[in-house]
């Protein structure tokens, strides 16, 4: 794994994904080839780790395995296969992957690994549904990643939270597995109602696209949509999820330091990861 020059997340010890332990294993994915809108999310892992230095050490245990090698490859498939390998190693070692993106296309790798071991549900915080049409052979990207994830046999439930804005079609209905909670509906959603949407017999993977947050709070992202969720609301939801469900992995993606203002978006992303790690 790369990334030795960066501080580790929350000051956790450096480790190889091949080691054994418990708690979270941080994996950085400095890749943004799956984002067709803008470059810059590849700088996310370093920026989020830096921002996390200002936070206390969370209660949950963890190690930081650095960044996935091979992220400079120009094709997303190489990045996905390397990340899948790293995820496998981490899970085999008893860890839960805690991934820092990178663009959102990378989430396909850890979810595809985890759903092979046990049925899972996926919580998808995002301003977009990422459900653009995709056919076999077409390039993988952050616009259709959830559509591909939903087809994985071990993914039994998808909970999309944060859809909003003006779109060509009504994207509130993404298939039998999926429930969409718009950003507007999320304002009035209690944590109890949220958990009712997440069967407790499933393990859950939590994926957070930072653009779920309102861009006046988190401007450093490539496809901002106004009128988003408050950071405190997302933190409240995350705390409820990690407190009441088995979270087998999580990620924060699409932080784009190139577009950020005073690293405020990286700081919010770090705090969201901290909320997950602290509540485990």
């Amino acid at each position: 794994m790369d990334g030795g020059a960066h501080p580790t997340l929350f000051g956790w010890g450096s480790a190889s994904t091949a080691g054994r332990g418990s708690g979270f294993c941080v994996i950085g994915v400095p890749a943004d080839h799956g984002n067709g809108v803008s470059r810059g999310a590849a700088r996310g892992p370093a920026s989020v780790r830096r921002a996390a230095r200002l936070l206390p050490v969370p209660r949950g245990a963890g190690v930081d395995a650095g960044d996935v090698p091979g992220c400079r490859a120009a094709d997303p498939e190489t990045v996905l296969s390397r990340l899948a390998e790293a995820t496998c190693e981490a899970v085999d070692g008893g860890f839960r992957p805690l991934i820092i993106g990178g663009d959102h296309s990378i989430t396909f790798a850890p979810v595809s690994v985890l759903q092979q071991r046990r049925d899972i549900g996926v919580v998808w915080f995002d301003a977009h549904t990422d459900f653009s049409p995709w056919v076999e052979g077409q390039g993988h990207s952050h616009k259709q990643v959830l559509r591909r994830i939903e087809t994985l046999p071990g993914v039994k439930r998808v909970l999309q939270i944060g859809y909003r804005g003006l779109t060509a079609g009504d994207e509130r209905h993404l298939g039998d597995k999926a429930t969409v909670v718009t950003s507007e509906a999320a304002r009035y959603l209690t944590t109890a109602e949220l958990l009712e949407l997440m069967p407790h017999d499933l393990d859950w993977y939590v994926s957070i696209d930072i653009d779920a947050i309102d861009p006046f709070h988190a401007p450093g992202t490539s496809a901002p949509v106004p009128d988003g969720m408050e950071p405190s609301t997302v933190r409240e939801f995350l705390a409820a999820i990690v407190g009441a469900r088995r979270v087998v992995g999580a990620d924060v993606v699409e932080v784009n330091p190139r577009l950020d203002v005073d690293d405020i978006t990286s700081a919010i992303a770090a705090r969201l990861l901290w909320t997950i790690a602290d509540g485990l």
């Binding site: 003006l166 779109t167 060509a168 509130r172 709070h217 009128d227």
Partner: protein
């Protein structure tokens, strides 16, 4: 495109003695071995001519007679071709006086939401988009704001339903309704603004152009450099029907005038003097302006809007009024994280819906966006949302 036939015609007696020159604003746009396409940059008109005709045209780059160019022996045959070029407006007779033709509109690099160009469908449009890059009425660098809004608007592509052949509109995930379905939008590019010309001349051009372009019930969406332009839009709209103006701005806009030009500081006061404008409500002020508004102007602060009944905003308007919406993007709170001092997108949008629920919105101005400012690109997206929401409210009744 005009197909210019320059085959030989009977020559008139006087053609050979007169001097001709290439029409001003004429440029070569494209050519191949057989034809050339020339465009009049003042009018946007294009003509396809043979290469032979284009070569002939090129020889009149300075005023010349036919015999100057072709010699005495060929002047008879050439005269017929020259006359054809004159008839198509490609060559001008130097001795004929004519008013200077100034370009009325200037092409914009992007069209709002990639909607059709006005020249293709504007006469049947429900909404006509016009850019006015004038920003000397305020302190901000707003002239580039139009470009930023149009560029960001490409994320919200205007599409026409394949079967119904009607504009598809957009789905608003927040409200769960489809907006602007069946509403035809056309982008009429920008008003040219020559730096140094008086504001009055620019504003007259805005009024004349809107008068010319707007269908009877058409709604203008004017993307302006700064909010002083709202004065010109109000002049046009109030010339059709009496109306009131709701002007969203962070600061008071009813200061004493300090010169002839309208500014963002006094545009509300100035608009009360426009024939047909019955009242002006300035909404969203971050704090009270500190001076007594003149007759016809009411001020509602953001705090009062937030705390009170949204109807507070419309209470100051006559019943069943036509309303011009003027939105200075400075009204939006762009602090990071939001400080709550300005209005959020949601608050402005709700206010627009409140106004539209009781009155008829007849025009929309979006002004005062500096894309180079921190969060400028995000504010451009907010501007797109506000424009589309305002147009939705404005066109709701007529489409229904």
């Amino acid at each position: 495109m005009l197909q210019c036939d320059v085959s030989e015609r009977p020559a008139g007696g006087s053609v050979v003695e007169r001097r001709y020159v290439v029409a001003p604003h004429l440029m070569l746009e494209a050519h191949d071995d057989a034809h050339a396409v020339v465009v009049n940059t003042a009018t946007g008109a294009r003509a396809k001519v043979s290469i032979a005709a284009f070569r002939m045209l090129s020889r009149f780059d300075v005023p010349r007679t036919v015999s100057d160019v072709f010699g005495r022996s060929d002047e008879g045959r050439a005269a017929a071709r020259v006359r054809a070029l004159v008839e198509h407006g490609l060559l001008w007779d130097v001795e004929v006086e004519r008013p200077a033709e100034k370009p009325r509109r200037r092409p914009a690099p992007f069209r709002f939401c990639n909607a059709p160009s006005y020249s293709a469908s504007g006469a049947r449009a429900d909404v006509v988009v016009l850019g006015v890059p004038y920003d000397l009425g305020g302190p901000e660098n707003g002239r580039e704001g139009l470009l930023a809004i149009r560029q960001k608007s490409l994320d919200y592509t205007y599409m026409v339903d394949f079967d119904a052949r009607q504009p598809a509109g957009w789905f608003d995930a927040g409200s769960g309704v489809r907006i602007l379905e069946g509403v035809r939008i056309a982008d009429a590019d920008d008003i040219p603004w020559v730096h140094g010309e008086p504001q009055r001349a620019v504003f007259e051009r805005v009024v004349e152009t809107l008068d010319e372009l707007l269908p009877v019930d058409g709604v203008p969406l004017v993307l302006a450099g700064d909010a002083s332009v709202s004065h010109a839009v109000a002049t046009c709209c109030a010339g059709r029907h009496p109306l009131s103006v709701v002007h969203f701005a962070a600061g008071g806009a009813a200061a004493e005038r300090e010169g002839e030009s309208v500014t963002v500081y006094d545009v509300a006061r100035a608009m009360t003097h426009v024939a047909g404008v019955r009242s002006v409500v300035t909404a969203g002020l971050r704090e009270a302006s500190g001076y007594a508004p003149p007759p016809g102007v009411t001020e509602v602060t953001a705090t009062r809007l937030r705390a009170g009944d949204p109807g507070d905003l419309v209470a100051h308007l006559p019943i069943a009024e036509r309303v011009l919406l003027s939105i200075d993007m400075g009204v939006v709170d762009v602090s990071t994280p939001p400080s709550g001092k300005g209005m959020s997108l949601r608050e402005v949008r709700d206010a627009i819906h409140t106004i539209g629920g009781r009155h008829r919105i007849v025009g929309v101005v979006i002004a005062g966006l500096d894309p180079s400012a921190p969060l400028g690109p995000v504010v451009a997206i907010v501007a797109c949302h506000l424009a589309l929401q305002a147009l939705h409210v404005a066109t709701l009744r007529r489409v229904a």
